[in-house]
Symmetry: C2
Subunit: 168 residues, 2 copies
DNA sequence: TATTGTTATACTCTATAACTATA
DNA sequence: TATAGTTATAGAGTATAACAATA
Protein backbone atom coordinates (compact mmCIF):
# COMPACT_ATOMS: atom_id res chain seq x y z
CA UNK A 1 0.00 0.00 0.00
CA UNK A 2 2.23 2.73 1.33
CA UNK A 3 5.96 2.82 1.10
CA UNK A 4 6.09 -0.04 -1.40
CA UNK A 5 9.18 1.62 -2.74
CA UNK A 6 11.17 0.73 0.35
CA UNK A 7 13.88 -1.88 0.35
CA UNK A 8 12.46 -5.04 -1.20
CA UNK A 9 15.23 -7.52 -0.48
CA UNK A 10 17.52 -8.28 2.40
CA UNK A 11 20.77 -6.92 1.06
CA UNK A 12 22.44 -4.98 3.83
CA UNK A 13 22.16 -1.24 3.54
CA UNK A 14 25.21 0.54 2.07
CA UNK A 15 26.55 1.85 5.33
CA UNK A 16 27.31 -0.63 8.03
CA UNK A 17 28.60 -4.03 7.03
CA UNK A 18 32.11 -3.07 8.02
CA UNK A 19 32.32 -3.99 11.72
CA UNK A 20 33.35 -7.44 12.91
CA UNK A 21 30.37 -9.32 11.49
CA UNK A 22 26.76 -8.87 12.63
CA UNK A 23 25.55 -6.70 9.77
CA UNK A 24 22.10 -5.54 10.75
CA UNK A 25 20.19 -4.44 7.70
CA UNK A 26 18.19 -1.83 9.60
CA UNK A 27 18.89 0.05 12.74
CA UNK A 28 15.86 -0.08 14.96
CA UNK A 29 15.18 3.61 14.69
CA UNK A 30 15.32 3.74 10.92
CA UNK A 31 12.40 1.33 10.52
CA UNK A 32 9.20 3.19 9.77
CA UNK A 33 6.08 2.50 11.78
CA UNK A 34 3.76 4.04 9.21
CA UNK A 35 0.18 3.81 10.38
CA UNK A 36 1.22 2.82 13.90
CA UNK A 37 2.34 6.35 14.64
CA UNK A 38 -0.90 8.18 15.25
CA UNK A 39 -2.53 5.25 17.03
CA UNK A 40 -3.14 6.16 20.64
CA UNK A 41 -3.28 2.48 21.53
CA UNK A 42 0.24 1.79 20.34
CA UNK A 43 1.78 4.69 22.27
CA UNK A 44 -0.23 3.83 25.36
CA UNK A 45 0.78 0.19 25.22
CA UNK A 46 4.48 1.01 24.92
CA UNK A 47 4.21 3.50 27.76
CA UNK A 48 2.35 1.07 29.95
CA UNK A 49 5.05 -1.56 29.41
CA UNK A 50 7.70 0.97 30.43
CA UNK A 51 5.73 1.99 33.52
CA UNK A 52 5.12 -1.57 34.69
CA UNK A 53 8.76 -2.50 34.19
CA UNK A 54 9.85 0.46 36.28
CA UNK A 55 7.25 -0.35 38.94
CA UNK A 56 8.36 -3.99 39.11
CA UNK A 57 12.01 -2.93 39.30
CA UNK A 58 11.39 -0.25 41.93
CA UNK A 59 9.30 -2.56 44.12
CA UNK A 60 11.48 -5.56 43.30
CA UNK A 61 13.16 -5.52 46.70
CA UNK A 62 9.80 -6.16 48.36
CA UNK A 63 8.46 -8.53 45.69
CA UNK A 64 5.27 -6.64 44.94
CA UNK A 65 3.83 -6.38 41.43
CA UNK A 66 1.37 -3.75 40.19
CA UNK A 67 -1.73 -5.90 40.59
CA UNK A 68 -0.76 -6.99 44.09
CA UNK A 69 -0.18 -3.36 45.01
CA UNK A 70 -3.61 -2.36 43.73
CA UNK A 71 -5.29 -5.13 45.74
CA UNK A 72 -3.47 -4.20 48.96
CA UNK A 73 -4.24 -0.52 48.47
CA UNK A 74 -7.96 -1.06 47.94
CA UNK A 75 -8.24 -3.39 50.93
CA UNK A 76 -6.23 -0.95 53.06
CA UNK A 77 -8.54 1.90 52.15
CA UNK A 78 -11.74 -0.16 52.48
CA UNK A 79 -11.34 -2.85 55.15
CA UNK A 80 -14.03 -5.50 55.16
CA UNK A 81 -14.67 -5.61 51.43
CA UNK A 82 -15.72 -8.90 49.89
CA UNK A 83 -13.67 -10.55 47.16
CA UNK A 84 -16.35 -9.74 44.60
CA UNK A 85 -16.27 -6.06 45.55
CA UNK A 86 -12.49 -5.87 45.17
CA UNK A 87 -12.58 -7.79 41.89
CA UNK A 88 -15.26 -5.52 40.44
CA UNK A 89 -13.58 -2.35 41.62
CA UNK A 90 -10.24 -3.25 40.06
CA UNK A 91 -11.55 -5.04 36.98
CA UNK A 92 -9.92 -8.31 37.99
CA UNK A 93 -11.62 -11.66 37.38
CA UNK A 94 -12.86 -13.08 40.66
CA UNK A 95 -11.21 -16.38 39.74
CA UNK A 96 -7.89 -14.65 39.46
CA UNK A 97 -8.29 -12.71 42.68
CA UNK A 98 -8.50 -16.02 44.52
CA UNK A 99 -4.89 -16.83 43.61
CA UNK A 100 -3.69 -13.29 44.25
CA UNK A 101 -5.20 -13.42 47.75
CA UNK A 102 -3.82 -16.92 48.38
CA UNK A 103 -0.35 -15.54 47.81
CA UNK A 104 -0.89 -12.37 49.85
CA UNK A 105 -2.42 -14.40 52.66
CA UNK A 106 0.52 -16.83 52.69
CA UNK A 107 2.79 -13.82 53.08
CA UNK A 108 0.67 -12.76 56.09
CA UNK A 109 -0.20 -9.40 54.53
CA UNK A 110 -3.94 -10.04 54.21
CA UNK A 111 -6.51 -12.13 56.03
CA UNK A 112 -9.83 -13.51 54.88
CA UNK A 113 -12.45 -13.44 57.61
CA UNK A 114 -15.65 -15.44 57.27
CA UNK A 115 -18.52 -13.00 57.17
CA UNK A 116 -21.30 -13.69 59.67
CA UNK A 117 -23.83 -11.66 57.72
CA UNK A 118 -23.37 -13.67 54.51
CA UNK A 119 -21.58 -16.92 55.14
CA UNK A 120 -20.70 -17.27 51.46
CA UNK A 121 -18.41 -14.27 51.49
CA UNK A 122 -15.13 -13.24 53.06
CA UNK A 123 -14.33 -9.87 54.60
CA UNK A 124 -10.84 -8.83 53.56
CA UNK A 125 -8.49 -7.05 55.95
CA UNK A 126 -4.83 -6.19 56.12
CA UNK A 127 -2.92 -7.84 58.95
CA UNK A 128 -0.89 -5.64 61.29
CA UNK A 129 2.33 -6.50 59.42
CA UNK A 130 0.34 -5.94 56.22
CA UNK A 131 -0.38 -2.36 57.28
CA UNK A 132 3.29 -1.74 58.00
CA UNK A 133 4.36 -3.36 54.77
CA UNK A 134 1.85 -1.38 52.71
CA UNK A 135 3.25 1.85 54.15
CA UNK A 136 6.65 0.84 52.81
CA UNK A 137 5.21 -0.22 49.45
CA UNK A 138 3.59 3.19 49.16
CA UNK A 139 6.90 4.91 49.71
CA UNK A 140 8.49 2.80 46.99
CA UNK A 141 5.50 3.41 44.70
CA UNK A 142 5.98 7.16 45.22
CA UNK A 143 9.59 6.72 44.18
CA UNK A 144 8.42 4.92 41.05
CA UNK A 145 6.05 7.80 40.40
CA UNK A 146 8.99 10.19 40.50
CA UNK A 147 10.66 8.08 37.82
CA UNK A 148 7.59 8.67 35.66
CA UNK A 149 7.91 12.39 36.25
CA UNK A 150 11.55 12.30 35.23
CA UNK A 151 10.63 10.38 32.09
CA UNK A 152 7.76 12.48 30.72
CA UNK A 153 7.97 15.65 32.82
CA UNK A 154 5.98 16.81 35.80
CA UNK A 155 3.46 18.84 33.82
CA UNK A 156 2.87 16.05 31.30
CA UNK A 157 2.27 13.54 34.07
CA UNK A 158 -0.38 15.89 35.50
CA UNK A 159 -1.99 16.30 32.07
CA UNK A 160 -2.03 12.55 31.62
CA UNK A 161 -3.74 11.98 34.97
CA UNK A 162 -6.33 14.60 34.12
CA UNK A 163 -7.02 13.15 30.67
CA UNK A 164 -7.36 9.62 32.01
CA UNK A 165 -9.18 10.44 35.26
CA UNK A 166 -12.35 8.80 33.93
CA UNK A 167 -10.77 5.36 33.69
CA UNK A 168 -9.91 4.81 37.32
CA UNK B 1 -3.09 3.38 57.64
CA UNK B 2 -5.67 5.54 56.01
CA UNK B 3 -9.38 5.21 56.20
CA UNK B 4 -9.23 2.70 59.01
CA UNK B 5 -12.49 4.14 60.12
CA UNK B 6 -14.33 2.66 57.17
CA UNK B 7 -16.75 -0.23 57.45
CA UNK B 8 -15.01 -3.06 59.29
CA UNK B 9 -17.50 -5.84 58.82
CA UNK B 10 -19.63 -7.08 56.00
CA UNK B 11 -23.00 -5.88 57.13
CA UNK B 12 -24.86 -4.48 54.15
CA UNK B 13 -24.93 -0.72 53.97
CA UNK B 14 -28.14 0.95 55.17
CA UNK B 15 -29.55 1.78 51.75
CA UNK B 16 -30.01 -1.08 49.35
CA UNK B 17 -31.03 -4.43 50.72
CA UNK B 18 -34.56 -3.91 49.58
CA UNK B 19 -34.63 -5.33 46.04
CA UNK B 20 -35.27 -8.99 45.33
CA UNK B 21 -32.16 -10.33 47.02
CA UNK B 22 -28.59 -9.68 45.89
CA UNK B 23 -27.58 -7.15 48.50
CA UNK B 24 -24.21 -5.76 47.47
CA UNK B 25 -22.51 -4.17 50.41
CA UNK B 26 -20.69 -1.61 48.26
CA UNK B 27 -21.50 -0.10 44.93
CA UNK B 28 -18.43 -0.19 42.77
CA UNK B 29 -18.12 3.57 42.63
CA UNK B 30 -18.31 4.11 46.34
CA UNK B 31 -15.16 2.08 47.00
CA UNK B 32 -12.18 4.33 47.52
CA UNK B 33 -8.99 3.76 45.61
CA UNK B 34 -6.88 5.82 47.99
CA UNK B 35 -3.26 5.79 46.85
CA UNK B 36 -4.16 4.30 43.47
CA UNK B 37 -5.60 7.60 42.33
CA UNK B 38 -2.57 9.65 41.52
CA UNK B 39 -0.64 6.72 40.09
CA UNK B 40 -0.09 7.25 36.39
CA UNK B 41 0.42 3.52 35.92
CA UNK B 42 -3.02 2.62 37.20
CA UNK B 43 -4.82 5.12 34.96
CA UNK B 44 -2.72 4.11 31.97
CA UNK B 45 -3.37 0.42 32.54
CA UNK B 46 -7.15 0.90 32.77
CA UNK B 47 -7.10 3.07 29.67
CA UNK B 48 -5.00 0.56 27.77
CA UNK B 49 -7.42 -2.22 28.64
CA UNK B 50 -10.30 -0.10 27.35
CA UNK B 51 -8.43 0.72 24.12
CA UNK B 52 -7.46 -2.88 23.41
CA UNK B 53 -10.99 -4.10 24.04
CA UNK B 54 -12.36 -1.53 21.62
CA UNK B 55 -9.68 -2.39 19.05
CA UNK B 56 -10.41 -6.11 19.34
CA UNK B 57 -14.15 -5.45 19.05
CA UNK B 58 -13.82 -3.05 16.12
CA UNK B 59 -11.50 -5.38 14.19
CA UNK B 60 -13.36 -8.47 15.36
CA UNK B 61 -15.04 -8.97 11.99
CA UNK B 62 -11.61 -9.48 10.41
CA UNK B 63 -10.07 -11.35 13.32
CA UNK B 64 -7.06 -9.11 13.83
CA UNK B 65 -5.65 -8.30 17.26
CA UNK B 66 -3.48 -5.31 18.17
CA UNK B 67 -0.17 -7.16 17.99
CA UNK B 68 -1.03 -8.76 14.64
CA UNK B 69 -1.96 -5.33 13.31
CA UNK B 70 1.35 -3.84 14.43
CA UNK B 71 3.30 -6.64 12.75
CA UNK B 72 1.40 -6.28 9.46
CA UNK B 73 1.79 -2.50 9.50
CA UNK B 74 5.54 -2.60 10.03
CA UNK B 75 6.06 -5.23 7.34
CA UNK B 76 3.84 -3.27 4.96
CA UNK B 77 5.83 -0.11 5.51
CA UNK B 78 9.22 -1.87 5.39
CA UNK B 79 9.10 -4.88 3.05
CA UNK B 80 12.04 -7.23 3.33
CA UNK B 81 12.66 -6.84 7.04
CA UNK B 82 14.07 -9.81 8.95
CA UNK B 83 12.20 -11.32 11.87
CA UNK B 84 14.78 -9.95 14.28
CA UNK B 85 14.32 -6.45 12.90
CA UNK B 86 10.53 -6.60 13.31
CA UNK B 87 10.82 -8.09 16.78
CA UNK B 88 13.25 -5.41 17.93
CA UNK B 89 11.26 -2.58 16.41
CA UNK B 90 8.03 -3.62 18.10
CA UNK B 91 9.51 -4.89 21.34
CA UNK B 92 8.23 -8.41 20.77
CA UNK B 93 10.28 -11.46 21.73
CA UNK B 94 11.63 -13.14 18.63
CA UNK B 95 10.37 -16.47 19.94
CA UNK B 96 6.89 -15.06 20.07
CA UNK B 97 7.06 -13.48 16.64
CA UNK B 98 7.61 -16.96 15.21
CA UNK B 99 4.10 -18.01 16.25
CA UNK B 100 2.54 -14.70 15.20
CA UNK B 101 4.05 -15.11 11.73
CA UNK B 102 3.05 -18.77 11.53
CA UNK B 103 -0.54 -17.69 11.97
CA UNK B 104 -0.34 -14.73 9.55
CA UNK B 105 1.41 -16.92 6.98
CA UNK B 106 -1.27 -19.62 7.27
CA UNK B 107 -3.82 -16.93 6.56
CA UNK B 108 -1.81 -16.02 3.42
CA UNK B 109 -1.30 -12.43 4.57
CA UNK B 110 2.48 -12.62 4.91
CA UNK B 111 5.25 -14.66 3.32
CA UNK B 112 8.71 -15.56 4.60
CA UNK B 113 11.31 -15.52 1.81
CA UNK B 114 14.71 -17.11 2.37
CA UNK B 115 17.29 -14.35 2.16
CA UNK B 116 20.16 -15.01 -0.25
CA UNK B 117 22.42 -12.46 1.43
CA UNK B 118 22.16 -14.11 4.85
CA UNK B 119 20.76 -17.60 4.63
CA UNK B 120 19.92 -17.65 8.32
CA UNK B 121 17.30 -14.96 7.96
CA UNK B 122 13.92 -14.52 6.30
CA UNK B 123 12.79 -11.46 4.37
CA UNK B 124 9.20 -10.66 5.34
CA UNK B 125 6.69 -9.43 2.78
CA UNK B 126 2.96 -8.96 2.55
CA UNK B 127 1.25 -11.14 -0.03
CA UNK B 128 -0.99 -9.44 -2.60
CA UNK B 129 -4.11 -10.41 -0.61
CA UNK B 130 -2.19 -9.27 2.46
CA UNK B 131 -1.84 -5.76 0.99
CA UNK B 132 -5.55 -5.61 0.26
CA UNK B 133 -6.46 -6.95 3.66
CA UNK B 134 -4.17 -4.49 5.45
CA UNK B 135 -5.89 -1.59 3.67
CA UNK B 136 -9.17 -2.78 5.14
CA UNK B 137 -7.63 -3.29 8.59
CA UNK B 138 -6.35 0.28 8.46
CA UNK B 139 -9.83 1.60 7.73
CA UNK B 140 -11.19 -0.33 10.71
CA UNK B 141 -8.30 0.85 12.88
CA UNK B 142 -9.13 4.43 11.93
CA UNK B 143 -12.70 3.76 13.03
CA UNK B 144 -11.37 2.48 16.35
CA UNK B 145 -9.30 5.65 16.64
CA UNK B 146 -12.47 7.68 16.27
CA UNK B 147 -13.92 5.76 19.20
CA UNK B 148 -10.93 6.90 21.26
CA UNK B 149 -11.62 10.49 20.23
CA UNK B 150 -15.24 10.14 21.30
CA UNK B 151 -14.13 8.71 24.63
CA UNK B 152 -11.50 11.24 25.72
CA UNK B 153 -12.00 14.09 23.27
CA UNK B 154 -10.13 15.07 20.14
CA UNK B 155 -7.84 17.56 21.85
CA UNK B 156 -6.99 15.18 24.68
CA UNK B 157 -6.11 12.44 22.22
CA UNK B 158 -3.70 14.81 20.50
CA UNK B 159 -2.17 15.81 23.84
CA UNK B 160 -1.76 12.16 24.74
CA UNK B 161 0.02 11.36 21.48
CA UNK B 162 2.34 14.31 21.98
CA UNK B 163 3.15 13.35 25.57
CA UNK B 164 3.85 9.73 24.66
CA UNK B 165 5.57 10.33 21.33
CA UNK B 166 8.89 9.20 22.78
CA UNK B 167 7.63 5.68 23.45
CA UNK B 168 6.83 4.61 19.89
C1' DT C 1 32.03 -17.42 18.59
C1' DA C 2 27.90 -14.97 17.62
C1' DT C 3 23.38 -14.54 15.35
C1' DT C 4 18.71 -16.11 13.09
C1' DG C 5 15.01 -18.67 13.44
C1' DT C 6 13.05 -22.28 16.00
C1' DT C 7 11.27 -25.20 19.84
C1' DA C 8 10.23 -25.72 24.54
C1' DT C 9 9.22 -24.44 29.34
C1' DA C 10 7.31 -21.52 32.91
C1' DC C 11 4.79 -17.86 34.77
C1' DT C 12 1.38 -13.86 34.31
C1' DC C 13 -2.99 -12.48 32.77
C1' DT C 14 -7.61 -12.91 30.61
C1' DA C 15 -11.77 -15.47 29.70
C1' DT C 16 -14.77 -19.27 30.65
C1' DA C 17 -17.15 -22.99 32.66
C1' DA C 18 -18.45 -25.72 36.34
C1' DC C 19 -18.63 -27.04 41.24
C1' DT C 20 -19.94 -26.10 46.58
C1' DA C 21 -22.01 -23.81 49.97
C1' DT C 22 -24.75 -20.77 50.91
C1' DA C 23 -28.68 -17.22 50.08
C1' DT D 1 -32.74 -19.69 41.33
C1' DA D 2 -28.90 -16.82 42.03
C1' DT D 3 -24.51 -15.41 44.23
C1' DA D 4 -19.52 -15.89 46.55
C1' DG D 5 -15.70 -18.27 46.47
C1' DT D 6 -13.22 -21.94 44.40
C1' DT D 7 -11.13 -25.06 40.91
C1' DA D 8 -9.85 -26.06 36.29
C1' DT D 9 -8.80 -25.19 31.49
C1' DA D 10 -7.42 -22.61 27.34
C1' DG D 11 -5.39 -18.80 25.01
C1' DA D 12 -2.50 -14.50 24.90
C1' DG D 13 1.66 -12.46 26.34
C1' DT D 14 6.32 -12.26 28.58
C1' DA D 15 10.79 -14.22 29.84
C1' DT D 16 14.22 -17.76 29.28
C1' DA D 17 17.06 -21.37 27.68
C1' DA D 18 18.73 -24.35 24.30
C1' DC D 19 19.36 -26.20 19.59
C1' DA D 20 20.48 -26.27 14.25
C1' DA D 21 22.03 -23.77 10.48
C1' DT D 22 24.73 -20.20 9.17
C1' DA D 23 27.81 -16.19 9.69
Amino acid sequence: MTASTARTDTRPSPRKRAGNGAARQHDTDEIGLDALVGHAGYAVRRFQIWIFQDFIRTLGEVGIRPTQYSVLTVIGANPGLSQMAVANRLGIERARLVHLLDSLEQRKLVKRIKSKADRRSHALHLTAPGETALAKFKRLAAEHERHVEEKIGKANRQRLLRILAGFT
